[in-house]
Each structure stands twice: as C-alpha cells, then as structure tokens.
C-alpha cells in the first residue's frame, strides 16, 4: 500500500512544429488505501494519465510519486504496481493458473508460495474450478476476474484499472462493480480506476478526478462533485440526466450561467413558465423536456405526480438552495 502524488504532471507528444500537449498539469495527492476514479469523456487524457503512472508512457513534465519515491524514470516492473487492462490482456497460450503465476515466477517466488497465493486469489474471485483452463474457454466476466486475480496475486502497492468494465454487458458490469468494491474493502490497496462512465465513478470512488481535454477540472468526493461542481463541464458530466445550464435564467446576472439539476425543479403553480415539448415515462419517474424561452431543460418528476400535457405551459420552481452559478466565459463556479 502506498500513497500516490501527481505533481503538475504534463504530457506532450511530438516535437517542434508538431508538438501537442495533451495533459496540462494535473495535481493530486492520493493517500494510502484510497480508491480513486479518473473519469472523463473519450480523449480527455485519463488513460494517458494512468499509463504514465504505470510507466507505459513517458512523463513530459512534473513528477509522479508512489510512496515516497519519484518514479518518473522507473520501468513498470520496478514500480511495484499491477494493472487490469480493458481487454484483459491475458496470455492466451497459458492456463489461468500460469497467467496468475507469471509475475511471481519472474520474481522467483518459491512454488509452494505461488500456489498458495494463486489459490487464495482464486478463492476470493471464485476462479478455483477454472485454474486449468485457457483464456479462450472463458466468458468475458471470467476473463475479467482472471485479470484481477493476476493483479491481486502480486500484492502490489498500487492497483491500476484501465476501463476494465467497458467490454462487459450491463448486468455483468453492475455485478462486477460490486465485486470490485468488496475486493477493495478486503484488501485496501491504493487504486486508480479509469472509466468514462460517470455511474461507475459515482459508485466506486472515494474521491474522483474529473478530466476534460487534458485538464483536471475537479478532484473531490462523489458528494462534492455532485453538489458543488467546480465547472460547467463537471456539472453537466456528472448526473443523469445532466444538470440544466441556462444562460438567460430569470434573476440571473449577465455573463453568468445558472445550473439546476432536473431533480431540483418542482412542477407546480409557481415559478418559471415553461413550454412542454416531450414527456418520457421511464417507469418510476418521468422526464419532462421543456423550454424556457429558447433554452431547453429537463425536469425529473415522480410517476405519480401526473403527466404534463405536451404543448402546454407549466410552471416549475427551482429549489433555491440547489442553484449553481458559473462564469459564462471560464465555466468556473462563482
């Protein structure tokens, strides 16, 4: 177990005229045993950041520390880390047992201990009956667990997860999420988990780094990120359906954007006058797509509150303690 420090981490590709900076100074102090999620849309740099921590990409600027060591110049093998890849990266020609034992064999761990560690990990992940199979004989979920088993067996200081749930179907994803949480509670190893799915981020993270276009927009707990988003990006990225962002809200100052979540608008007799465009019934709740002037917004209502008529005008009152103001030019919270 170890802490991780990211100090002004920068990543550049190319040189001279073709130079492109893709990560612009990320700063984060992660304590021992924390489960940190790095979340953001495709291309925001989250995988690149993870791979820099792993040693698979060079650090162009700044420092990365694992424990008390600066690891910028260290090979992946020297950093005492383990990684779970998006496509599992299991060695196809080896059995499940050998896949998990590979790293230990290299470190010349005695055979008896290898067997003990592999069996223990297999027990935790329910892989005991699959140890002699080859990866191609396993289902996606089973391969996923083998990939995690391989990481656990190494007993590293840090776990790195690179979008490990992306290739699983929705049900399996939900199941595996719970397993990962359980695993973390049991083993307590510092973990960095990359995903583009904000639901995964919200459910797994103790704290999360929200990234956009190479910038770290916010670093906080799920609670903080949800109730006090630092930028319009974070505000609209976290929460589904996303937060409504209005440029010309009544009562707003010019040059400022008002943010209010769909669940924080109450339909009633008072408040803003809205024109109803469409209504979607999702089962337990309804999404009302409406317009304020020429700006669109969404309201979330409970299914027994009655459906507004499409084309009619309704009134909705935002909860005054749930308003967020952002500067229109910078997107930052005011």
């Amino acid at each position: 177990m170890a802490s991780i420090s990211l100090r002004n981490v920068i990543k550049r590709y190319g040189s001279g005229k073709t130079e492109l900076q893709v990560i612009h100074g990320v700063n984060a102090e992660i304590t021992n045993g924390e489960f940190i999620v790095i979340v953001g849309p495709s291309g925001c740099g989250k995988s690149t950041l993870l791979r820099m921590v792993a040693g698979l990409e060079e650090v162009s600027g700044g420092d990365i520390c694992i424990g008390e060591r600066i690891v910028n110049e260290l090979e992946p093998a020297e950093r005492d880390i383990a990684m779970v890849f998006q496509n599992y990266a299991l060695y196809p020609h080896m059995t499940v047992f050998d896949n998990m034992a590979y790293g230990l064999k290299i470190k010349k761990v005695p055979i008896a201990e290898i067997k003990q560690r592999v069996d223990k990990a297999a027990g935790i992940l329910e892989l005991g009956h699959l140890l002699e199979r080859k990866p191609r004989e396993l289902s996606g979920g089973q391969r996923q667990r083998v990939a995690m088993g391989r990481a656990i067996v190494r007993q590293p200081q840090v776990f790195l997860f690179d979008e490990p749930l992306s290739n699983l179907d929705a049900k399996l994803r939900a199941q595996t999420r719970l397993e990962i949480q359980k695993l973390h509670r049991e083993l307590g190893i510092t973990s960095l988990f990359v995903t583009h799915d904000q639901v995964e981020a919200m459910t797994l993270a103790e704290r999360m780094i929200v990234m956009n276009a190479g910038n770290m927009e916010q670093f906080g707990t799920p609670e903080e990120v949800y109730s006090r988003p630092a930028t319009t990006f974070v505000a609209s990225f976290i929460g589904s359906p996303p937060m409504n962002l209005l440029k010309n809200a009544p009562g707003g100052k010019p040059g400022q954007i008002l943010g209010v979540r769909p669940e924080h608008l109450d339909i009633g007799t008072e408040g803003w006058a809205l024109h109803v465009d469409t209504v979607e019934l999702l089962g337990a709740e309804r999404l009302v797509h409406a317009r304020l002037g020429d700006e669109k917004l969404i309201i979330r209502t409970h299914e027994d509150q009655g459906a507004p008529v499409v084309g009619s005008t309704i009134h909705a009152q935002p909860r005054l303690d749930r308003l967020h103001w952002f500067d229109a030019a910078t997107g930052k919270r005011v």
């Binding site: 040693g55 698979l56 990409e57 060079e58 090979e75 992946p76």
Partner: protein
C-alpha cells in the same frame, strides 16, 4: 514506452543495417561485375570492389548481342526480356481473369457439383508444376504448343492460388450489396462488373505483383518447352551464358542478371504496399 534504453535502439539499427548489407552484397557484386570487361574480371584476383568503366559497352553487348573480344557469341537479351515480359503478363492477366470468373461463380451461384468443382480447383494448390513436369510436357507437345507463348503460359495458369484468394475476399463482401443491386435491376454480370470488381481492386493489385514475379521468374518449365532461342525467357538466357566448357563472359552475365532482376524488382518496390498486404492475406 517500455525500455527506453537508447542502447537497444542503436543495436536494432545496427542489426538491420547489417541485414540490409548482407542481403544487398550479392547485388553489389553483380553490379560491379557488370561494369567491367571480362578480361578485367578474369585477370583480377579477386575482382575489384569498385565499379569499372566498361558499363555502357557491357550492357550494350548484353542487350543487343554480338561478338566479344574472346570470340564468344552473345545472344541478345532484349528479345528474351520481351519474351519474359509477354509471358509474365499473359500468366498474370490470364490467371487473374479466369480466377475472378471462377471465384464469382463458386461464391455467388448454386449449381450441381459446385462443391466438387471447388475441391478440384483447390487440389491444384497442392501440386506445383515441378511435380508433374513429365506428363505435362507430353500434353503440351501433343497439342503442338512447344516453343509457343501458349505453351509457356497456359499450363502455369492451372493452379488455383488466385481463385482461392478471390473466393476468400468475395465471402467478406456484404450480402446487402447484392440485394441492393438486385433491387436496382442489375443482373449478375452487371453486379460483377460494377460492384464486385471495383471492390476487389486491392486484391487484384496484390495478385498482380505476385503472379508477375512468378511468371517472370519461371525457369524449369521454359527450359523444357522451348528449344528455339527466340522463345527463351531472360532467366533462361542467363544460365545459358554460363557454359562449363567455353569461356564465360562474366561481365555480360552480370549485366544480363541486372537486366533480368530489374522489372520484377521495380514492380515489387512500387507496388510494395499492395504486395505485402496481398501476400500476408493470401496465406492466412
């Protein structure tokens, strides 16, 4: 970005350069040889490694034939290169044409004994001409095809590499295209000409390179079916210049070798991308 040790990169380049040099060394020697006179070669022990100044004369003799100072009669290489060119192109175009048609039939039609036909064609992949030289020679002789372009080329079109490749490719073309063409009123040959052929361009290009080289480099078969010097391909011509008994004009031999290597090498280098793709895809 694992192992950023610069030492390893230097080593890689060293090994590769060494490989290139070893691979290119025979070519260099050949080139040098072609620039000297045969006396220079015969008398220098060893042959010098720098180019001589007899290049033009040597190449002229090689291309157009003539008598050398030592009295050997050199047959002109130019007509032989023409023979090589024609046979290579006939083999290439012939093979590609009939294979396209056969593969189209096998993939897109249902007819009795279709599977038998497919297996018959498939079997030809297994036996190169070298294995059936005797009887094939007899057949060609009986058909009066000795010393003809037909005799040089037609038996070599028999093998099915191209048909197989095209079949593999056609199987990956989406069915929806056929259905759309049908709705547009296109018959099978229309579909073949307007849809399938344009899609097959890369495969055709790759096969062109492979078959051209195959045809140009044929040695054993022309050796058997031609006795008339005017029908010798250039690769045969070279060998005949090295005679055991009389004096070998090495410089002319080397010049002819360079001439013989040039067209296929140019084809490979200029069509490298298709060639590599086609070669690797054919066999997989």
């Amino acid at each position: 970005m694992i192992e950023k040790r610069p030492g390893l990169t230097v080593l890689s380049h060293v090994v590769l350069i060494l490989g290139v040099l070893i691979v290119g060394f025979p070519l260099y020697i050949t080139f040098i040889g072609s620039t000297q006179t045969s006396e220079q070669i015969a008398q220098a022990f060893p042959m010098s490694l720098i180019p001589g100044n007899n290049m033009l004369e040597t190449y002229r003799t090689a291309l157009f034939g003539g008598e050398t100072q030592a009295g050997s009669r050199i047959p002109a290489a130019a007509p032989m290169m023409w023979v090589s060119l024609v046979s290579a192109l006939v083999i290439t175009i012939g093979k590609i044409a009939i294979s396209l048609l056969s593969a189209f039939a096998i993939v897109y039609f249902r007819f009795p004994m279709r599977n038998l036909v497919f297996w018959m064609i498939f079997v030809t992949l297994m036996l190169p001409v070298e294995v059936r030289i005797g009887p094939t020679y007899e057949v060609v002789a009986n058909l009066g095809m000795l010393n003809t372009y037909a005799g040089l080329t037609v038996p070599l079109i028999a093998s099915a590499t191209a048909t197989f490749l095209f079949r593999q490719f056609f199987l990956t073309v989406p069915d929806e295209l056929v259905e759309a063409a049908r709705m547009d009123g296109a018959g099978p040959m229309r579909f073949f000409k307007d849809v399938l052929l344009p899609l097959s361009k890369t495969s055709i290009a790759a096969l062109f390179v492979i078959q051209f080289i195959y045809g140009w480099n044929q040695y054993l078969w022309p050796l058997l079916v031609t006795t008339d010097e005017s029908m010798y391909p250039v690769v045969m011509g070279i060998k005949r210049l090295i005679s055991g008994d009389s004096y070998t004009e090495w410089n002319v031999v080397m010049a002819t070798a360079i001439l013989a290597m040039l067209p296929p090498a140019l084809v490979v280098i200029f069509m490298q991308r298709w060639f590599v793709k086609g070669l690797v895809d054919t066999e997989k």
